[in-house]
């Protein structure tokens, strides 16, 4: 589960990490009120969306479509204003808030559709002397948590990783010990920090690890982590993702979920414990098992069409789950055909066949449907479909199924 910056920083503060003072706002009035309460003469007003690259993003309707296309390509110094604005007066805070709230921000990470800005984060300004990159995440190769830091702050870390991997410093954490202060110091000196900045950094990074560990994060990215003119370190941004499997022990974090940032169909699928991801193609897929579901998408592409979704009904699919899955797939107007691919192991094919029929009878069928069943009770399953009188196209193998649905969609 992804969090907004303001939520992430709230969690950091709960774990003793010092951040700049700030507050969330859902209207221009609220934004001004937050700025007033913070005091000072410089404020930063930031769009709260789940995607990164906000500063370099541009708003739909504010700039030409050609500029938005350049945003997606990662071009710098484009005309127009971004999703993060430095304001030198309360009037500027109001104007910035009005210009961003309710508008759609396109960044390199949102894709062309962009993301609607419904919340702003108003934060006190600070004097930046230098920017760094820091991330905490799981390293699969060692099955340990990894702290990565780089002096190339503010830029895309992927670029640094590709061109100058030696510029990324890494420390692996022993889960029994936690992140050692000596490890944080090694990072600080490696990054070229000196004087009181080293101690400030050590305090910050060990606090960040404590947060990561305490909230069951799967990713905590601070980009940029800045050193201020006075030599202190500050997490200027915070991108936090929580391990979905661990949400059961964090009811306070579950409350932070922003459904507006998620695809409605994916939310609906989640209610039925279905794993669904909307894609751009035209052939809907209903499959049991994540690996087979991906392979089914691939074979559709192999035969020249694109999948409309990833959908795994799971191992214990019931008639109700299959029906819900069908409804979600058919609601997508881009779907021109449906491929059901079930390898019934423990799940019996006759039960699946009944589920498919029940779903078709309930939601109707306006596009071609190919069903491939394999495994336990396959003959009975096929018989049920054949005798149903419904226009279900049966298939024997994955290749057979893919060829048939691709042909049917082409008409």
């Amino acid at each position: 589960m992804k969090l907004h910056e303001y939520q992430g920083k709230e969690l950091l503060r709960k774990h003793g990490v010092t951040t700049l003072a700030g507050g969330a706002a859902r209207s221009a009035d609220e934004a001004v009120a937050v700025a007033e309460s913070l005091g000072g003469s410089v404020w930063v007003v930031k769009s709260q969306i789940h995607a990164g690259g906000r500063g370099k993003g541009r708003f739909k309707g504010d700039v030409a479509d050609a500029v938005l296309a350049q945003v997606l390509e990662g071009v710098d110094d484009l005309p127009g204003k971004g999703g993060v604005r430095v304001c030198m007066s309360l009037d500027a805070v109001r104007a910035g808030a009005q210009a961003m709230l309710g508008q759609t921000l396109v960044t390199k990470q949102t894709g062309a559709e962009g993301s609607l800005v419904q919340t702003l984060f108003v934060e006190a300004g600070c004097q930046i002397a230098k920017e760094y990159y820091l991330a905490i995440l799981l390293d699969r190769a060692t099955s340990r948590v990894l702290v990565m830091a780089s002096a190339e702050g503010g830029t895309e870390i992927e670029e640094v990783a590709e061109k100058h991997p030696e510029r990324i410093l890494k420390e692996w954490v022993d889960p029994v010990v936690g992140l050692g202060a000596w490890q944080a110091r090694r990072l600080a000196f490696g990054l070229g920090m000196t004087g009181k900045t080293v101690n400030s950094f050590v305090k910050l990074v060990t606090g960040l690890y404590r947060t990561y560990d305490g909230i069951d994060a799967s990713m905590l990215e601070i980009n940029p982590l800045v050193v201020t003119a006075s030599g202190d370190t500050i997490p200027l941004d915070a991108k936090v993702t929580i391990d979905d499997n661990a949400l059961f022990r964090h009811p306070d974090i579950v409350q932070m979920r922003d459904l507006a940032e998620e695809d409605p169909a994916e939310i609906e699928a989640g209610k039925y414990d279905l794993s669904y991801v909307k894609l751009d193609g035209t052939i809907g897929c209903l499959v049991n098992g994540a690996g087979l579901a991906m392979a089914t998408m691939d074979i559709i592409k192999f035969y020249g069409q694109e999948p409309a979704n990833f959908l795994d009904v799971g191992g214990g699919a019931t008639k109700e789950k299959v029906t819900a899955a069908f409804k979600i797939i058919t609601r997508d107007p881009a779907v021109k055909g449906i491929l059901v691919n079930i390898f019934g192991g423990i799940m019996k094919c006759d039960v699946i066949a009944e589920g498919v029929l029940a779903a078709v009878r309930e939601v109707g069928l306006s596009v071609p449907l190919v069903v491939r069943l394999e495994g336990t009770n396959v003959e009975l399953g096929k018989k049920i479909l054949a005798e149903s009188g419904l226009a279900v196209i049966p298939a024997d193998t994955m290749a057979d199924a893919a060829e048939k649905i691709v042909a049917a969609v082409k008409g």
Binding site: E158, V176, N245, G289, G291
Partner: protein, 292 residues
Amino acid sequence: MAILVDSNTRVVCQGITGSAGAFHCAQMLAYGTKLVAGVTPGKGGTSFNDSVPIYDTVADAVKQTGANASVIFVPPPFAADAIMEAADAGVKLIVPITEGIPVRDMVIAWRYLQGKGVRMIGPNCPGIITPGQCKIGIMPGHIHTPGRIGVLSRSGTLTYEAVGQLSRVGLGQSTAIGIGGDPIIGTKHIDALQLFNDDPDTDAVIMIGEIGGSAEEEAAAWAKVHMKKPVVGFIAGATAPPGRRMGHAGAIISGGQGTAEAKYQAMEDAGFHIVRSPAEMGRMMAQVLGRL
């Protein structure tokens, strides 16, 4: 004798009285697996299906029955604890089937297993089967046939698909192993390839990968130097967009890492016989072995 499990493997099930545990234990018994004990804290002294004794602790089960492998159906919040309990009791092969264990718990459990000489398969996996001898997990036993092809994959149903295709072209399996879809798993592709390479009863291997991580690349790099047997390879998720998790917690392309194309290239570089269509795994294996 295939890899890791055979007719001499003595299995204890942790979580045998839960609905999934009970169902799959009945299936394992029916397949002929030597399921010698179950563990459910507080239900020690009772029995499962009037034939398998249940103990309060894994240590008791091991002491009384000589169990040397554990299959775990314990719910996610308690699964990491179950893994560590099995290791502490001296069980050398641990197969957690449980899906949805928090990563933080697994980081700690994995640390605990180091130095104990334990082999873990999974978690979030279908398990392991040596056809005709021993089935530990949730795969449908009847689709498998004894033979000399090793099958290695993260996922359940895609493994069944490969097994089904092999059986259709008349090739049986030495052992089929589903290593699991989580970011932290005990047996990676490279480990399973090594085991198959050293197994005199395996002639060739189907290795199925998935987008995300770099385990397939690591396995291919090892195989390029050491693998003596032909490998047929497929990668699932070539059509998956970056940044989106495809069901499995580990199946995500992030920061340009973990793409299907990079994995295919590594496999090609290692001399694997790759197939771009998942329907071609069995046929390609038959072709490689000169059966077509």
